[in-house]
Amino acid sequence: MTVERRAQPFDMSLVQRGARNRRTPYYEATQRYGPEGFTVYNHMYFPIRFDTFEAEFEALLNDVTIWDVSVERCLEVSGSDGFRFAQLLTPRDLSKCAVGQAKYVVICDRDGGILNDPVLTRMDENTFWFALASSDALFFARGLRNAYPDLDVTIREADVAPLQVQGPKSKDLVRDLVGDGILDLKYYWWRRAEIRGIPVVITRTGWTSEVGYEIYLLDTSRGNELYETLMEVGAPYRVKPTGPSDIRRIEGGILNWGADMTYENNPFEVGLDRLVDVGLADDASISIAALRAIKDRGVTRKLVGVELDGDPFPGLNNVKWPAYRSDGGDHVGKVTSAIYSPRLGRNIGYCWLPVELAGEGSRVRVDSEWGTRTGTVVPMPFVDPEKRIPVG
């Protein structure tokens, strides 16, 4: 079976003005599969929709999807003091991350504010990759580095481009590409490989909460070749080019930096407590002292899961929605992400609320772009809280 190639490449003149934002190494290949829209992320054009939300969701749940996430620009920290410097950036204890392993981390400022939330891979003893969400965290790292002139550390953007291969058939596809050995790769570990002679790093990570891999292309002159190889080898598994599945990632409680959290927020407010190791020494990580104090003091607001009543939302929210006290009129928070989950049969999302209103069962009134709704606080994630699916 082959995937239908639509006749229409995307007319970039509709979104592009000048050459300021870059195209990805997979650009020409993705154009052959009819992307329906783009956004810009880390100064690159990001194809984020090839079909309906529901069709992309079904493919992710049942088959395998490929998603060009070259926009996760890769901040590389290396040099003989690479470990020390990488640890300054994040409050997660990196001594617990072995070479060959990966971790979800937050990069935090000295006040504990979240500047980015990348997946970190430890490439060797002193080399780390941070696959960035959409903010120039490299500038923060380079700015900080000025205060450590004696450290032997190099900070640069690695010329690599990740591709997400996600869904239950992703194991079959990746096995067919690089052999049975890859099936041993554990959740949040990585390995080097070659796909038809193209050098790659394969990680057992993703932005879906399904079983999946990210394939980091190491020779960015060969992106289109890699993409087409995946389409060809994946054909028996009904491989489908997609954008991000906001349905699945919200079900899985995955946060989108810039929408769900920004510099103004700390990890304890957004349920990322596990990414803060308060036992780190003050001089090991620039945010740890502030975060320890926040933990002791407690937070005043939280990002929590909400179910929103009424008709299914026709799409993802376009803007953040204000939330009000259900018994009065006070503006108390905002919904940052919300979408209809077909399998749960409910509208689900995330809402910022004062802690006194953040308990399960608490209700708020939300002015959505599709009418006024009642939001009820529920546990998050909405599906598979133990993460058994992606680990599987």
């Binding site: 003149s13 509709l14 003005r17 956004t39 923060f140 700015g143 810039g258």
Partner: protein, 389 residues
């Protein structure tokens, strides 16, 4: 990620809207004014297309235009040590920047690479604003602040500029804000208000024409401010426009991310050398830049003129430039200048080929070759007599 309803209706916008990017306080007004395409810039939507860019160009040259540049996100530096701190961020000597004055500055990295090229405004003694080009220079400033030992706060205040540009902009600003504001000197600022809407106004812009930027300080009142400017401009045929790439390239104005990045230093860019000011104070990148000043550079961004038919739009991709059939450089921008009646842009060249008049060819998107030659920057008005006027 539903496309915005209005955008779905329009014929030309397929950029997806989502909650991870901000809309400007003028966004609804730009939609109502017919904006049909948006770009993303500093995590916000930048109006990209209202109508024929050539008509917009002539409106800018002959009358007055209104441009939503809220995407020039403001990084604010405050605190008792803010002046010392800001002076470590740029190669310009800010000990000469008075309260109320503005400067075009470069934020430089330790190796002299350019982090951003904002307009800086000294709004108060210890309140500095950087109106950013498209990069998170606020993150750079935060990184520097961590161990600076200086008492400063770095944040993004709710401040959103619009540009009022063109020869009639003085009349518009005079009718709204009075003589003192209209007669501001080039690169000076004033704080004022309009119907209680707090604003800062600077005699700056991205056009090479006479013009102002009006910085809205109450984002709930963007629509009102927009309407007042449009009303005051009506007698002068004011119109909302997208960025006028032809005019800014004529003027030798650069677009960060496209023409230059952190991989480039100011001595490599024709016209920016003067911003590396010799000074007593230390700043990040000083040692590297003074070394580069002595040693010289191996490549330079200069002007290029390309013959042939008018390009309908600015180029979407950087293109190779050839000399004697060999690839020698990269074209970063190219657009038709209606008044020069040439396609003009910028090109990176090896230093020995960077003088004006070098014969070049550009490899066009369709693979054909366009004859071209290098040129000096700016293409027009090198003494800035027009915008100072």
């Amino acid at each position: 990620m539903g496309a915005l309803e209005t955008a779905e209706r329009s014929t030309s916008s397929t950029l997806y809207f989502g909650p991870w990017y901000r809309k400007s306080p003028f966004f609804e007004k730009t939609l109502a004014a017919g904006c049909s395409a948006y770009d993303i810039y500093n995590h916000m939507y930048l109006p990209g297309y209202f109508g024929d860019p050539i008509e917009e160009y002539w409106a800018l040259l002959n009358e007055v235009t209104l441009w939503d540049v809220s995407v020039e996100r403001i990084v604010e530096i405050t605190g008792p040590d803010s002046s010392a701190f800001i002076n470590t961020l740029t190669c310009r000597d800010l000990t000469k920047c008075a309260v109320g004055q503005g400067k075009y500055v470069l934020i430089t990295a330790d190796d002299g690479g350019i982090i951003n090229d904002p307009v800086l405004l000294r709004v108060e003694e210890n309140r500095w604003w950087l109106a950013l080009a498209d990069s998170d220079a606020g993150l750079w400033a935060r990184g520097v602040a961590v161990h600076s030992g200086l008492d400063v706060t770095v944040r993004e205040p709710d401040v959103f500029p619009v540009q009022v540009q063109g020869p009639k902009s003085k009349d518009v600003i005079r009718s709204l804000f009075g003589d003192a504001v209209a007669d501001l000197r080039y690169y000076w600022t004033a704080q004022t208000e309009l119907d209680g809407i707090p604003v800062v106004i600077s005699r700056t812009g991205w056009t090479g024409e006479v013009g102002y930027e009006v910085y809205l300080r109450d984002p709930t009142r963007g629509g009102e401010l927009w309407d007042r400017i449009m009303e005051a401009g009506a007698p002068h045929n004011i119109r909302p426009i997208a960025p006028c790439e032809a005019r800014r390239i004529e003027a030798g104005i650069f677009n960060y991310g496209s023409d230059m990045t952190i991989a480039n230093n100011p001595f490599e860019i024709m016209g920016l050398e003067r911003l590396v000011e010799e000074q007593d104070a230390d700043y990040i990148g000083k040692a590297a830049l003074e070394e580069i000043r002595r040693r010289g550079v191996s490549r330079k961004l200069v002007g290029i003129e390309v013959g042939g038919e008018p390009l309908p739009f600015e180029l979407h991709e950087k293109r190779p430039a050839l000399h004697d059939g060999q690839a020698v450089g990269t074209l970063t921008d190219l657009i038709w200048s209606p008044r020069l009646e040439r396609n003009i842009g910028y090109v990176w060249l090896p230093i020995d080929l960077s003088g004006p008049g070098t014969a070049l060819e550009v490899v066009a998107p369709d693979g054909s070759r366009w004859p071209a030659q290098s040129a000096a920057i700016p293409f027009l008005d090198p003494r800035k007599d027009i915008p100072k006027g």
